[in-house]
């Protein structure tokens, strides 16, 4: 459903597209969709110390119809996979996915020989745009992930890169 990319307009309005991308990049509304421990770090990022609101991303919409980015924060179990797939399909285009934490990237610490319960990585269900490793990653890593997504949407990065000291 919706595999063809949206931008294949016949007449390419470069400045208009750039404006649309800029608008979309600066108001990414995430979905309140916390699975496990990383959800608490996602809430901490929305809280007052790290404050996602500065990037216009603090409107955590509960309904998938009104969000742009799905932050998969936690372990996707096999029982939860169809629900996550439905949520992804319910989101209107253009939509993005951030895989936050090792569990969403590759099953994290719950991968062992003969495991029966979890999907090893969100990219087995739908295309993922930004990966944030860590168990759980610090709130700054999630903000870095959102800046990474904005760089992917607009094509250039407006914020300084921070070297871990």
């Amino acid at each position: 459903m919706g595999k063809e990319s949206l931008q294949s307009a016949i007449i390419k309005f470069a400045p208009l597209d750039k404006l649309l991308d800029l608008g979309r990049a600066n108001s990414l509304w995430p979905m309140t969709f916390g699975l496990a421990c990383c959800a608490i770090e996602m809430m901490a990022t929305g809280a007052s110390r790290f404050d996602l609101a500065r990037f216009g991303a603090e409107v955590f919409r509960p309904s998938p119809r009104q969000c742009d980015v799905m932050i998969v924060a936690g372990t996707i179990s096999k029982k939860m996979a169809p629900a996550v797939q439905t949520l992804y399909d319910q989101m209107p285009e253009p939509k993005w996915v951030i895989a936050m934490g090792n569990c969403a990237i590759s099953g994290g610490p719950f991968v062992f020989e003969g495991q029966y319960g979890i999907v090893e990585g969100a990219d087995k269900l739908f295309p993922v745009d930004v990966f944030i490793p860590g168990c759980p990653p610090r709130p700054e890593a999630l903000i870095e992930g959102i800046l990474e997504l904005e760089e992917k949407v607009t094509g250039h990065r407006r914020w300084p890169r921070v070297e871990a000291v």
Partner: protein, 372 residues
């Protein structure tokens, strides 16, 4: 409460408080059969974040299971580390030095305050107030900084070892903790004035989701849920372990059994935890943090052992069955919210939808701990 024994052909509809819902704080699904806005029957459906902890307990060595215990209830992870370490030390008969026990109590109680603060914010968020969550998170960040400077991680700690701790504590942790205690004691009256005394909140919580002591006993509910219904049961007092007997603190008990009582129990527990941390800081002895002769490869004697610890949400019990090798034979994790939630079906019958969510919020659920 109200007469729901309507004629059988009253058309009820099934509402899915789906796996993704802001009020479930995780992936719990509750199948609600509703008659208008009243709940006829509620059936929680679990397993959406089942992470096979007990299966993993059977294919890794005793010390390698440590990170798993922290990922059960990541809000009060240190109590789970403490429970696991305590039951293995009990089985091996290991002696833990005094300083390590005191540091364990200090870090567990700080973690309990952080867990109660997050519950306080999330609970008032369920009731519609957004701001207290941000104030609670602000305080919680201070605790996470303290614990991160000692253990290295913010949420999923792996700090305790069998026989002690993996490294000692430096001085600015101690001064930082005292400063934090002063700061939180100044802010708690604000929380009470903003939320506890608020007439809207009182109307929302008074006589909502009343749990009798008998129903709690029948379902095996423990922790603040049980203490909210008038039963004075706290593992730290009933089965004294670690250095809790040397520290004096009360266990808050309210007998009304409604959501307001459970709310007040947890808010008073924050004060008690502050008292415990303060006393433990004063009595902190010098000395090593790790027992001397801890065997490299741990092999507890064959047999099964049970250990219980007071986690933030209730009694966390671990039943380990060892067959003498260094791989555990069976690891049963008794999580408190599993039993606390099992009474939800019966307790929420006849409630309105917002009251049923207030009841669920007052049970303080962490879903990965229920699904294990």
């Amino acid at each position: 409460m109200n007469d729901l024994a309507r004629s059988p052909n009253q058309e009820t509809f099934v509402l899915n408080l789906g796996p993704q819902h802001p009020a479930t704080h995780g992936v719990l699904r509750v199948k609600l059969t509703m008659d208008g806005e009243y709940i006829v029957d509620a059936e929680p459906v679990l397993g959406y974040v089942h992470r096979m902890h007990e299966k993993m307990g059977e294919n890794r060595t005793w010390v390698q299971f440590m990170p798993n215990t922290a990922r059960l209830d990541y809000l009060g992870a240190l109590s789970y580390n403490h429970g696991y370490v305590k039951v293995v030390e009990q089985a091996m008969g290991l002696e833990v030095p005094e300083r390590a026990e005191y540091l364990r109590v200090i870090t567990v109680e700080l973690n309990r305050i952080a867990s109660h603060l997050l519950w306080f914010g999330a609970f008032v968020l369920d009731l519609g107030g957004f701001t207290p969550l941000l104030y609670a998170f602000d305080d919680r960040e201070h605790i996470l900084d303290l614990l991160e400077s000692v253990t290295g991680s913010r949420l999923t700690f792996c700090y305790y070892r069998f026989g002690g701790l993996c490294n000692d504590v430096d001085d600015d942790f101690l001064t930082g903790t005292r400063a934090f205690i002063k700061r939180l004691r100044k802010r708690l009256p604000d929380y009470h004035n903003l939320v506890t005394k608020n007439i809207i909140l009182i109307n929302r919580l008074k006589d909502v989701g009343v749990l009798s002591a008998e129903m709690c006993r029948k379902y095996g509910a423990t922790g603040p849920v049980l203490r909210g219904s008038g039963v004075d049961y706290d593992v730290r007092k009933n089965e004294p372990y670690s250095v809790y007997p040397e520290l004096d603190f009360e266990v808050p008990v309210y007998s009304e059994g409604d959501s307001m009582a459970r709310y007040m129990v947890r808010m008073d527990e924050i004060d008690q935890c502050l008292r415990i941390v303060e006393q433990a800081l004063d009595k902190l002895p010098e000395g090593p943090v790790m027992a001397e002769k801890v065997p490299k490869i741990l092999k507890p004697a064959a047999g099964d052992y049970y250990g219980a610890v007071e986690a933030a949400r209730g009694t966390f019990g671990i039943r380990i069955v060892s067959d003498g090798t260094n791989i555990p034979y069976r690891m049963k994790l008794r999580s408190p919210t599993f039993s606390n939630l099992s009474l939800y079906g019966e307790a929420s019958r006849g409630l309105l939808l917002p009251d049923a969510l207030a009841l669920m919020g007052s049970l303080d659920l962490v879903i990965p701990e229920i699904d294990r």
